[in-house]
């Protein structure tokens, strides 16, 4: 199953891509902070900043923890913030289960670091207006979250 082509090259005024290295916990979190700073520069409302930062962070951490390598792209238009996270990881075998709060496949080491509460995907869903996840076991994951700007 492939993601439908992203519409609106015309709508997106600004596009920036960030590479994410799987298992690189040292750099983890930098992409979401960079995204937040970009959105601050755009003068977006505080609520949009907060939600975008949460979405970007949770998605970024999922890639770092599970995903092999990946790319995060930020698409920005006056009407919408879109975060796309594409990775070459193991994929999510049961998406419905993964979307449940508390369900986690985190390893012991990850939990020791404070991750793995099972809230990542539910948090992303809670903070975005539209969410599309394209994934299959062994096929990597592409996550697209959109937040409307009022």
């Amino acid at each position: 199953m492939s993601l439908p082509e992203m519409d609106d090259a015309s709508d997106t005024l600004f596009l920036e891509s960030f590479p994410i290295k799987g298992s690189d916990f040292i750099s983890a979190g930098r992409v979401s902070i960079a995204i937040k700073n970009l959105l601050k520069g755009a003068g977006l409302p505080a609520d949009i900043l907060r939600r975008s930062a949460i979405v970007a962070y949770e998605a970024e951490m999922n890639v770092v923890m599970y995903g092999g390598d990946g790319t995060c792209s930020l698409h920005l238009s006056p009407k919408m913030v879109r975060v796309v996270m594409k990775d070459q990881g193991p994929g999510i075998s049961d998406l419905d289960l993964a979307m449940q709060e508390g369900w986690s496949t985190a390893t012991t080491q990850m939990r020791e670091m404070g991750f793995g509460a099972g809230m990542g995907l539910p948090n992303i869903k809670k903070n975005s207006d539209r969410l599309k996840i394209d994934t299959a076991s062994g096929c990597g994951t592409t996550l697209q979250a959109e937040i409307d700007i009022p």
């Binding site: 600004f14 979190g29 520069g41 755009a42 003068g43 977006l44 949460i54 962070y57 006056p78």
Partner: protein, 546 residues
Amino acid sequence: MNPENNPEKTRVMALKIDPELCNGCVVCLKACPAKAIRVRRGVAQILPELCVDCGICYQVCPQGAIEVCTAKLEEINRFRYPVAVPASALFSQFGFNTSPNQVLLALKQIGFKEVVDTSWLCEMVGVAMEEYLLAHPELKPGISPICPAVVKLITKRFPSLMTNLIPVLPPRTLASKGLKQLLAKRYGWDPAEVGIFFIGPCPAYLDVLHDPICVATSYLDEVLCIGEVYGPILKALRNLKEEEKIQKSSGVGLSWASLGGQAEQMKVENTMAAAGFKDVVTILEMLEAGRLGDMRFLEAHICSGGCLSGPLTVENPFRAESVVRKLVREHGLKSEVDRGKVRQSIAEGVFDWEKSLEPHPVRPWASQPAKAIAKMKAIQDLAERLPRSECGLCGCPDCQTFAEDVIMGLAKDSDCVALDRQRHLKTKQREGKEMTVKELAEKLGLAVAAGTGGLDRRVTGGYISDLLSDVMAHAPAGALWVTLQVHQNVAAVAVLKEVAAVCLVGGRKPLPETAAKADEENIPILLSPDDAYTLAGKLYAAGLGG
């Protein structure tokens, strides 16, 4: 980051760059962690809105071109009763054998009529902050308001964190608030003749004097830096009369000069101390993203080693740290502060801020998101064309900042040497491309006397000689042959050697037979009023190498 000035208030800069001494190098430009410096017209300038008063520029300038604008010691003579409020960092400056009490007495000896043991107030403020944290268990973390540079950083770059700041007056304010009235009562002094001087380790206090953080008008009159009083105190220490005991603080207050002194004092779980601009920004970003977890107290300093490492101190910061460690051991960690009294004062509002903090957020790229996003795209497009050598020659600290400044109208893209060089190289390449005789003649304003049929021949170089045998031996094909010979043999030789064209110098004209031959063979004859030397110079300049 948009460096546009916030029009509400212009801050006072304690550090100024002397344009006579500044040589426009890139050292401070690159060193500034806030990217607040630009070099324009060969002189460095600090952008006040971005400056965070860390003083790193002052420390690194190889020309000594940055001057400190805090007060001179003579200013104490403006007041009949000058009073000193020294930052506790001052006690770390005079080595292992000088007690804080001696430093306080020395201050009196150099002219201050009264001196406050600010470390004692540090201990009290510490208790007040702790009480606030206990009364507000939901505050995670409470941020210490002691470092004024950090407070200003928060109001500009992290206004959402302003509510984390613990609204307790810092020691310098607590010390100076009501001090004039107190001294009037105690000694009968006229408050109008009392001058309160803060003695501080860093440039931040000058701005705070004019734009105080938590009170409407500062209770301080002037700011001196530790460097200013160091020499006089050293002198005074040599013949000190130790008659009074001014110092009241224990090691608890004295440790505030070090990084972590406040955090040590807070008896709450999970306290943190961070220092240095970049590291403090990282911590604040983590906090803003909700990732600081269960932290209850954050002590943050712009100066990377806490107050005793401030740029306006004298002692080496690691040695100063040693001194404080010794002082803390000597004076112990048992504070004499009466918690009951502090609680009562809190209830009476003694520690309360007198005004609420105002945010001064650094501006987005434009007032409307659509325009701001368009600017971001323009910045991105320009940044992609830049060489990313981060050389600083444009006067901006790095290529990204240069792109931002150009799009915001603060710099021209021709300021970039590399971009300019690319343009220059392209022009050179165009010029180096082989010219036709016609192009060359037009370029140098040479008249065509004959042989117009050969004007599209390509000219590959030049040759000057008036000896036909020499031309026969050495002139390269395709060259422009420069000569003063006008007779018919010139045309013959020109044909034989397959020169591109002949140019007669000194205003000479070909003989009719020569012109006729040239027409027949389509070898242009050009005319120049110049002598051969001058013409050769012009040909070289036009790109026609030898």
